[in-house]
Subunit: 352 residues, 2 copies
């Protein structure tokens, strides 16, 4: 196997890491010596070892010495939850490191590579970069643009409605969509809804797989209407953090310890997104309703539109779904049939 093939193995290993890495990127590592793959590793759940450590921990010191390490992301060179991987690599006697993607964090890009080279290790970069980057779209976007990746997710009828009428909770999509959405939520760090959705639908928004780090339930409630609804599941179930953004100064007192309330002088979508960026939230799954989604679209803060379409027609009294201010063409469209429903994932920009 050549360098490309071996990096392909590392990318496959990265994907094994899964959403449990939470705010850490999903990284894969492969150790090779004399043409033999000696170990494969990937990022462990948040707080645990990184991919390089996971792979190297499987080897005796004499095995790692003189070997080549294929790693999908530049090894870290700073102390976080784990000691720096560069030091581990240097200590292990690895002779050559092939890196797919440099760290997207502008302040650390290239520092891991430089540290390795400084210690006489041969470093090859630029191999399989795109495939490796695609494993962590949210992480990369967050560190490049300093704000969360936003996916608008909507469930609409064939006549473009999201409910049969104002204030009505309407199940539109099928069980296959229900399962997919639950799985999908786990891949985001925040799930955003508006106060109307919280009041009318009373959702829990918790993904089915019980993870150590569930997405934060984020409710945009400019006027503070939730003061009258402290009994919503989001405030009672204790399953995951609930954050509320409002302009109403009395809301924190009204909700008490049930939620973390951010009182902003201007509770616009850009202001909320800025706070979330400062809080380190890398990705948002904006579930609606249409008012919230329209606000995200008007602010130009949407990276992906995810539509679950059911071929029912809700009729003229139904509430129209999200529609952008102007015609919106997408570059990257993936369509998938889920029984009698359709999943449509679209992006305006491909390379972010």
């Amino acid at each position: 196997m050549n360098d490309e093939d071996l990096m392909g193995l590392a990318v496959a290993a990265a994907k094994q890491a899964g959403v449990a890495t939470w705010r850490n990127p999903q990284v894969g590592a492969v150790v090779v010596k004399n043409g033999h793959v000696l170990a494969t590793g990937h990022t462990q759940p948040y707080g645990g070892p990184h991919a390089e450590r996971d792979a190297l921990s499987q080897l005796a010191p004499e095995q790692a010495a003189g070997a080549t390490l294929y790693v999908t992301l530049e090894p870290c060179n700073h102390y976080g939850k784990q000691p720096p991987c560069t030091q581990l690599i240097i200590d292990s006697g690895i002779q050559r490191v092939v890196v797919a993607q440099l760290d997207p964090h502008a302040l650390v890009t290239g520092k891991g590579v430089a540290a390795l080279r400084h210690h006489g290790i041969e470093v090859v970069t630029g191999l399989g970069t795109q495939q490796a980057a695609q494993v962590n779209p949210h992480y990369n976007f967050f560190y490049r643009h300093h704000r969360p990746w936003v996916t608008l997710k909507q469930a609409v009828s064939l006549d473009g409605r999201v409910s049969a009428g104002p204030g009505q909770r309407t199940t539109i999509t099928n069980q296959a969509v229900y399962r997919r959405v639950h799985k999908e939520r786990a891949g985001f760090q925040g799930i955003v809804i508006g106060s109307t959705t919280a009041i009318v639908d009373d959702p829990t928004l918790v993904p089915t797989p019980q993870l150590a780090h569930l997405p934060i339930r984020i409710v945009l409630d400019r006027r503070g209407r939730l003061a009258d609804y402290p009994d919503r599941q989001l405030f009672r179930d204790g399953l995951a953090p609930t954050w509320v953004f409002t302009e109403r100064k009395s809301l924190p007192d009204r909700l008490g310890p049930r939620a973390r309330v951010f009182v902003l002088p201007d509770c616009s979508v850009p202001a909320v997104v800025q706070v979330l960026a400062e809080e380190g939230v890398q990705s948002l799954y904006v579930e609606g309703g249409p008012t919230i989604q329209n606000a995200f679209a008007r602010a130009g803060l949407v990276e992906e539109v995810l539509t679950y379409l059911s071929p029912v027609m809700l009729g003229q009294e139904g509430v129209p779904g999200f529609a952008p201010p102007k015609t919106w063409k997408f570059q990257d469209q993936q369509l998938e049939l889920l029984g009698n429903n359709v999943r449509i994932a679209e992006r305006e920009r491909q390379d972010v």
Copy 2:
């Protein structure tokens, strides 16, 4: 092969007939003797031989004598464009006839079977009835309900719009849809549009395959706006008949020989459909716009909704597509991906 298998062959033969049979049903016939299939036939283009004659014409008299005939629709017992098939069958010495579907025309149902039995031929009915009926949904519907089968066809964006703004011609769907729609039009006897579509889009509405009997282009123009647009392609190209329904008495003079103009005191959808039924039009493909489609839906005259969905978003200034007065659930839904577009065919009632 048993009776079911042989009727299956006849159904397959029926489908071979294709849309060229026009107002005649697509029928298949198989002649079998001593377990051998001697001949297979199907309805020839409109005005030509029926399936029974097509099959029997391939055989010498001694071959047909004593054979069994499998036919998907009850043989006709009256003079039309062709002499009655019952007489042909009796004359040919066929001993046994297996019929899948009785003639749906209430006035003639059972008469063909009775004529054969009267001449001592053994007749079996009720075999493969459903499969055979599905070959001619429009024909069956027309003779059972005495009005044309109506398919609403729409091309919509993901946000449920049919154009980017009032009066704007907008191409929404892709080339695969374009080809499919052209093919599909050939299967209907009338294509219905409103005057706005005629004026703004200026379509020809002619299916690509050049048939002897093209669908009639039918324009609903209650107020007679087309008086000012005699240059539209529908009136100039001479490719297919163009019929206009209006309440404006001067419209026939204004359009001259370019179109057949029906002036009705009440140009409502039910009134138009009744005239079309009297004219023997068995099926309508209602292409829009939304005003016309909403009127068909309100009148309860829709058998099928056919949606071509493109995952573009036309935005809030776009013209909303058809939406029924109330929530509309469908029993029979067929979804198909056509590149990045989706074809959704739905029916409220399955058994019509």
